[in-house]
Amino acid sequence: MSDPSELYQSVILDHNRAPRNYREMPEASAQAEGYNPMCGDQLKVWLRLDGDRIVDVSFQGSGCAISKASASLMTTAVKGKTPAEVEHLFQRFQRMVTGQDSGQAEQDELPARLVVFAGVREFPSRVKCATLSWHALRSALGGGRERPGPGGG
């Protein structure tokens, strides 16, 4: 890859400029923060559950185009989903951005709006940007709390 537009696809640039569901949620049933000590990116994810379904999800924070667009697209992808479905999506998404998926067939199972991040696999240092909001969401859902990443400089 040497053309920036392969990584920064127009969907990503659009969501970076005008992130969806970019708001606080006072009535949230859960919230969690994501912080990347390597670059200082931080964001907060709010969600509202009705029974076992996410009926609303939002985020705010500061970060690069990849982390902002990923958070924005995530919020549009997980609305109406159950925690188990979110976990399944996340696993697929993480395999794609880390280049561990089995290829196109597996990517086809992800919503097209998430596949725009496939180029991230070429940039190992940017994987954390793409997954920051997902980690925060999983943490808000009460699972997936993982050990913190390596420290920043």
Partner: protein
């Protein structure tokens, strides 16, 4: 004799081209573009002379130091002690015993904080830092402050990115024991007036600890003229290896300091009841030191010493000035740090584009810059930003590199608009 540098040199057909041949790493492509290495403040590249010196030592002379009666060990010892002497001359310390070879700047500051700080600091004493310090000149002091009950105070930075010296007299109190300050900001490139700061600190009864990591690759340092009590730096930012650095400390201070780490090489006599310690500097060099790296550091000093400092500084300043002038044409550009005396680094933000995204687009053009908080989060907060893009220059950079950087930033603007 190393080639000389032309202040406005382009890579082609000049002395600069000859000098660049000493750095084979520069002759490679990244993402299909010639590598433009502008991350020298993070780590500089090593000339082949440094790599060769390290390799020759490992291949032909490797043995432990200060231990063996055998010839190889004596040769290794003489090379290791030779490195110490090169460092002494490099910073014009009065005596070799004032030079401790360390693992790098961070190790040096931690040594001073734990050993000197740990023995002199009392409850309510003060350590004066500055707002532009690297985390490695903040956190070690916080650790020792926490243990001793000392307080940390902070000298602020002005809008131009200079230390606000007008605040120094009020911040230096009778309780100030240590003033820890960087010689050159790793973010802003600001050169701080150490001479003046050290004199004021001394008058207040405090010692001055200078982080020289970003200074020593760019201009000659004379610790005696500066009046610094401690001066630390790293090999890998001055064209030498990683894992090696040095600490200069005034002899009477070092001699009064307790050991920091215990082990072989730093003792005089050991029994289970009592141990007496070796004199300085061995007291502070527990364990087998990084010997090959010390030999590499000596080679880096030899390489730098063969250059004309004034020419080197003129060349680098010319590149920074050119870059600053030309990047200013890019819409939304804001230079962070506009002090008149700067060296090496150029930090900036592009409105509406996160530094990381700038860094990635530049990388796709083969341009290596650093995009982050540069381990200086308090300074980022001072300027109300979370990070900057930093282009940092070294002796081997060219005007072609500046051209590439400017073209890369224009592409960033195309990708992200604005």
């Amino acid at each position: 004799m190393a080639p000389t540098l032309m202040a406005t040199g382009n890579a082609a057909g000049s002395d600069l081209a000859r000098l660049r041949r000493d750095f084979p790493i520069l002759r490679q492509s990244v993402h299909g573009h010639p590598l433009v290495y502008l991350d020298n403040a993070a780590t500089s590249q090593k000339p082949r002379q440094v790599v060769q010196a390290e390799a020759d030592f490992s291949v032909l002379e490797n043995a432990n130091v200060h231990r063996g009666v055998h010839s190889l060990s004596q040769r290794a010892t003489s090379r290791y002690d030779g490195a110490r002497e090169r460092v002494r001359a490099f910073v014009n310390a009065g005596h070799c015993d004032e030079i401790v070879l360390t693992a790098g700047t961070t190790a040096g500051i931690n040594l001073i904080a734990q050993s000197y700080g740990g023995s002199v600091l009392r409850q309510g004493d003060e350590i004066l830092l500055t707002e532009m310090e690297h985390h490695s000149n903040i956190v070690p002091w916080q650790l020792i402050a926490g243990r001793t009950g000392a307080r940390i105070r902070v000298l602020p930075v002005t809008d131009r990115g200079e230390l606000d010296l007008s605040r120094l007299p009020e911040l230096l109190s009778t309780r100030t024991r240590i003033v820890a300050v960087t010689h050159v900001s790793n973010v802003l490139g600001t050169v701080n007036p150490i001479l003046e700061i050290a004199a004021l600190a001394r008058a207040a009864g405090a010692v001055t600890v200078v982080d020289g990591a970003q200074a020593v690759p760019h201009f000659p340092v004379d610790v005696q003229t500066l009046g610094a009590d401690f001066y630390v730096a790293s090999g890998h930012k001055m064209y030498g290896p990683t894992g090696i650095g040095f600490l200069y400390g005034r002899r009477e201070l070092l001699e009064a300091m307790p050991p920091w780490q215990g082990g072989g090489g730093m003792i005089q006599r050991v029994s289970f009841e009592e141990t007496s310690y070796a004199p300085v500097p061995a007291r502070f060099e527990a364990g087998t030191p990084p010997i090959a790296q010390a030999v590499g550091l000596a080679a880096a000093i030899d390489y730098l010493s063969a250059l004309d400092w004034a020419q080197l500084r003129g060349h680098e300043d010319g590149l920074v000035a050119q870059a600053a002038e030309r990047i200013a044409e890019i819409p939304g550009y804001r230079l962070i740090g506009t002090a008149p005396t700067r060296v090496g680094a150029l930090s900036f933000v592009l409105e509406g584009v996160h530094p990381h995204d700038v860094g990635t687009v530049l990388d796709l053009r083969g341009i290596a810059v650093r995009a982050s908080h540069h381990c200086a989060q308090p300074l980022m907060r001072r300027f109300g930003i979370t990070g900057t893009v930093r282009a940092s220059f070294a002796m081997y950079n060219t005007l072609d590199d500046v051209d590439a950087l400017v073209a890369g930033l224009r592409e960033v603007r195309q990708v992200f608009g604005g």
